[in-house]
Symmetry: C2
Subunit: 228 residues, 2 copies
């Protein structure tokens, strides 16, 4: 709360951060497709800014594993293989399960109430089929819940892992219509937290993550193995 006041109010966003968010959104919306190469100078020209902040934003994305530099061609949006998804899923399992359990120990009624509101948002977005709003609220929910564990690095790492996967299954999520089922799981998790039932909470988190993993399994595979 106080953090929002001190950090978010008078922070003029640098061009670098604006470009960074914009590229991230482009990844989410599918405008930037995995495997394609994009040049910093071309992006800069399209955005009407210099190549310096664009370059720095791309380097940040490289550090986060979302892009990779190609020698003198540009930056390539890294496609996620099944093995990559397994890696992310495994790490999220290792971090989110204990993190959520720790968070449950420290959650106050006020925290739970705030999360209930976000969970309602998630269900509303799922009911409306608004995938963008769903992902945004879902991210805020898990970030808000995990943050209670008190380990900032853990939260940041999990969010970074989330950002690596959320980008590649958007349409699949919408097609399968599994948003509603996934949305309801959030309230179930909060119920377990409120009840102090750590066993049920752990199973809920595991189930939620498994859900995520199986839903985002890529149905199509236009790049056969061996192509690198």
């Amino acid at each position: 709360m106080a953090q929002n006041l001190s950090a978010g109010s008078l922070k003029r966003t640098s061009l670098r951060d604006q470009v960074l968010d914009l590229v991230r959104q482009s990844l989410v919306s599918g405008e930037i497709r995995p495997g394609d190469i994009y040049s910093a100078s071309a992006l800069a020209a399209r955005l009407g800014v210099s190549s310096s902040p664009v370059r720095e934003a791309m380097l940040t994305l490289v550090n986060e594993g979302l892009m990779e530099p190609v020698r003198n061609r540009g930056y390539r949006a890294v496609p996620m293989s099944e093995h990559d998804l397994d890696e992310v899923f495994s790490m999220r399992l290792l971090l989110e399960v204990p993190g959520t359990l720790w968070a449950a120990e420290r959650a106050t009624p006020e925290d739970l109430a705030a999360l209930r509101a976000v969970a309602d948002e998630i269900e509303a977005a799922a009911g409306a089929g608004d995938v963008v709003a769903f992902l945004d609220a879902d991210r805020r929910f898990h970030a808000g819940l995990l943050r209670l564990c008190g380990n900032r690095r853990l939260v940041d790492t999990v969010l970074s892992l989330r950002d690596q996967t959320r980008l590649y299954g958007l349409d699949a999520l919408a097609r399968h219509g599994t948003l509603d089922a996934s949305a309801r799981e959030h309230h179930a998790m909060l119920d377990a937290v409120a009840a102090g039932d750590t066993g049920r909470l752990e199973e809920a988190v595991r189930h939620h993550l498994r859900h995520t993993r199986s839903d985002w399994a890529q149905p199509e595979d236009d790049a056969p193995s061996g192509k690198r």
Copy 2:
């Protein structure tokens, strides 16, 4: 092995990476002290390069959590509080224990032999009191062992966490003379891997990490609380 061949051979290091490594080394050697502010332009002048690559290297360090930008003053080497150390320690526990167990399942005799050699290096460095060589070999050992688990993201994350802590306890390690004890634990871990004793391996890893955490507990505190 093959990775080294493909990656390290014909890679001309960019100025950015050179600066990055140099600043990291300066952090390890203590030339850059936590809490102090350093300007990219001053560093660029000292190194005889432009501020562009220095700036980009600093931004990378910011992303890694080693530095933080100060509005129009420069970049500050972030000091590690006890809570920060706890955060890193907790995450390493969550990631390294399962990761090492997975690695043990996949370790081949050749892998073990290579790691034995590194473990010998560690003991030699510990016996000679060469802290820099110790840390380097120690890092290679844990990276090499963890890498066998097959989860590249997990390895990278753990190494990043390592880099956040290794910088702040150098002299303490040397003073307490605990290098030898820590060095011997590596062979014990390999013994457990070779024996297929997962329970003993898990306990060895936990013990090793606890060792690390307690050794690096800051004995001195020249910045009393409330100073900021």
